[in-house]
């Protein structure tokens, strides 16, 4: 049994401007100890997906639509009473966010904040919780942890604050850590430290990781599998080796080509024409078709299912059924 099974997840927001279908039929699984990255640009639904798993969507205006399913070790989370859901959060699934400063309480010592998280979920007296908090700080690579535990958040650097958040998240030994853009606010040399730490802890503690990021490079370095989202849907998924070496969906291909490369400079970068459509009015058929260089009539008429490419690699694109069209388009516009 997979650790996490998300099936037909639909999270809508009811606003004055209409219903925004932020996540619109997302299904995937995550096995124990596995690291999966969800990538996509602003508004693709990647963060709403992760918040929906933990039921952290404010309703109203948000709504996890009837028929959605999120199972953790077979147990349906969307049907749990709130009290039991609170136990799942932190105990079974923990989450860290982009900006650790807003998640930490500025008036409490970081050691107390970790100790509090431990005492909420475990039977431990103050002394035990404090010494476990110091242990957690040591685990996440904070030097002189018994002294740093007495620091307040503002006394720490951005990288150290993210380490503290990881310490809080891992203090109850969760099966799954959801990390939403955990390094986006950090400098690149500090990002490298935090990504190394996450990979090392995942292996040491055997926990699964769901990494939400806009940065394809971060996924390549950390994850086993990658899920690419566009307009509330999964458009491509598979093992990172396979997806990065042979991206199949025109959106994934466009994203990868748009990134400037250190080793292969180009005069111009490839771009994806147009803009991400509004979640209140997704295009009919394949949602990427208005921006797709390969699109033909079928693409506007109906959305394809995820098509198997090879060993777990799947792409939601009619080109998988009509490979001749890919070659024809390639020969029309060489180099694009």
């Amino acid at each position: 049994m997979p650790l996490l099974e998300v099936a037909n997840l639909r999270t809508y927001f009811h606003t004055d401007g209409g219903t925004a279908r932020a996540v619109d039929g997302v299904s995937f699984t995550l096995n124990e100890g596995e690291a999966v990255g969800i990538v996509g640009e602003s508004g693709c639904g990647k963060s709403v997906t992760s918040l929906s798993i933990l039921r952290l969507i404010a309703a109203p205006p948000g709504e996890i639509v009837e028929g959605s399913s999120v199972r953790l070790k077979g147990r349906e989370l969307l049907a749990l009473p709130e009290k039991q859901m609170r136990e799942v959060r932190g105990n079974d699934i923990a989450m860290i966010f982009q900006e650790p400063m807003t998640s930490l309480n500025p008036v409490h010592k970081v050691g107390e904040q970790i100790a509090e998280a431990i005492r909420v979920h475990r039977k431990a007296d103050r002394r035990e919780a404090w010494s476990r908090a110091v242990e957690m700080l040591r685990l996440v690579g904070i030097p002189a942890p018994d002294q740093r535990a007495h620091d307040y958040p503002h006394q720490l650097s951005g990288g150290q604050r993210q380490r503290v958040m990881i310490a809080i998240a891992l203090s109850c030994d969760p099966d799954l850590l959801i990390a939403d853009e955990p390094t986006t606010a950090l400098d690149v040399t500090i990002q490298a430290q935090i990504l190394d730490l996450l990979s090392e802890l995942r292996q040491r503690l055997g926990m699964a990781l769901l990494l939400i990021t806009h940065d394809l490079g971060v996924v390549a370095g950390v994850c086993d599998r990658v899920i690419v989202m566009y307009a509330g849907r999964i458009v491509e998924e598979g093992p990172v080796e396979s997806v990065f070496a042979d991206p199949r969906h025109p959106y994934t291909q466009g994203l990868l080509r748009a990134i400037p490369r250190l080793d292969a400079p180009a005069e111009r970068l490839a771009t994806i024409p147009g803009q991400v459509p509004s979640p209140a009015a997704w295009p009919p058929g394949c949602r990427f078709h208005p921006r797709c260089p390969f699109a033909w009539a079928d693409c506007a008429a109906a959305e394809p299912a995820l098509q198997d490419v090879s060993g777990g690699h799947r792409s939601r694109c009619w080109l998988e059924r009509h490979p001749e069209r890919r070659q024809a388009a390639a020969s029309r516009s060489p180099g694009s």
Binding site: S42, I190, A192, G217, A220, P260, L262, L269, I272, Q275
Partner: protein
């Protein structure tokens, strides 16, 4: 020029320290350089406590020297606290430099009075990271751009509208966008408006301060292509400031790497990316997460220990020495302020443990 002199007055070299090689400060700028900056320094007071008592100062930019060639792009890359943004603003005198010399097209910018500065700002413009924060939400796009044209007395009457539409077309927007307000645009479109506003005065030089950092990758590519097309079309020179080394590598002819207020490496973009000479640049390049998995294509990742030091109390000697993983790092690194010296032809790095060019001992031509 005092800050340059102090960089040259070093304790005598000894052991395996290598302080030879041509100093970057000694290299005459090319005759066609549009902007030359020498020894640019900017201090900020540090205020502490309830009454904002001045308790010291931060040297945000510490004796920085560089030039920007006509029609070329110098990329300025660095992490938080490197001083890259302060450098760009001090160069335009949007904040006043504490010391140093700035020349633009032969004129001494440091000595300009108000009126001369106003004329200077017709030739030198800036594009900011957050176009939303720099656009007035109550003004339409046409009003925003017209205002610039009026302030600089460039157009009057119906000619203004024509010019606004020309500028919008130039940045890939259309006439129908003119009457809209900033909130009606996406991030990428707002950045195009910011660029149109900068272009309104027909500048020769633009400081691009993290212009694509807030944009999604597909939109980032559109804006980078636009900046490149405009450079070719209008002969613009850019100082391009960013924290993203891949972006800097893509846009730049030359790259200067900053760390704690100083330039630690400066070279042609391809050369710097291929063979970085400073241990910090090497770590920075290796830390860039690239969406590739081919074995052997990327350098082994160097994960630096420790945090970037507080710019208010930078380490003595080489500012990078506490995090440096150079095998020859020793006590000299904590003592000697490394000059930006030539380590390969036209390739400068501030590291006394990196051999000079031509090889130490041989007299420099």
């Amino acid at each position: 020029m005092t800050s340059i002199a102090s960089a040259i007055e070093l304790p005598p070299a000894k052991g395996d320290s290598d302080e030879g090689g041509r100093r970057f400060e000694e290299v005459p700028p090319p005759a066609d350089a549009l902007v030359t900056v020498r020894g640019l320094t900017r201090d900020f007071p540090v205020q502490r406590g309830l009454f904002g008592r001045r308790s010291g100062q931060v040297r945000a930019v510490d004796g920085v020297t560089f030039w920007v060639g006509r029609g070329q792009t110098l990329g300025l890359v660095g992490e938080s606290g490197s001083g890259k943004t302060t450098t760009g603003r001090a160069l335009l005198r949007l904040i006043e430099p504490t010391a140093g010399e700035i020349r633009f097209d032969g004129q001494d910018v440091s000595a300009m009075d108000r009126e001369a500065l106003r004329r200077f700002r017709r030739k030198a413009q800036i594009v900011f990271q957050d176009p939303y924060g720099s656009l007035d939400p109550r003004m339409t796009v046409a009003d925003t751009i017209s205002e610039v044209l009026h302030v600089h007395r460039l157009t009057r009457g119906p000619a203004t509208r024509e010019r606004v539409l020309d500028l919008l077309r130039l940045v890939g927007l259309s006439a129908e966008h003119a009457a809209r307000y900033p909130h009606e645009f996406s991030g990428g479109q707002r950045q195009r408006i910011g660029i149109a506003r900068a272009l309104a005065v027909e500048p020769q030089f633009i400081v691009c301060d993290e212009p694509v950092s807030a944009l999604d990758v597909s939109v980032q590519a559109q804006v980078l292509n636009l900046l490149r097309d405009l450079q070719r079309q209008l002969g613009l020179s850019y100082l391009f400031i960013a924290h993203d080394l891949s972006v800097i590598r893509h846009v730049s002819d030359w790259i200067a790497v900053m760390y704690l207020g100083r330039i630690v490496e400066l070279a042609a973009a391809a050369e710097l990316a291929r063979e970085p000479r400073h241990p910090y640049t090497r770590a920075l390049l290796s830390a860039v997460p690239e969406p590739r998995l081919e074995e052997g294509s990327a350098p082994a990742r160097i994960v630096l220990r420790g945090d970037i030091p507080d710019p208010a109390s930078p380490p003595a000697g080489c500012p990078f020495h506490p995090r440096c993983q150079h095998p020859l790092r020793d006590a000299d690194c904590a003592r000697i302020r490394p000059p930006l010296a030539e380590k390969a032809k036209d390739h400068f790095a501030a590291c006394i443990k990196t051999p000079s060019w031509p090889a130490s001992g041989a007299p420099a031509a």
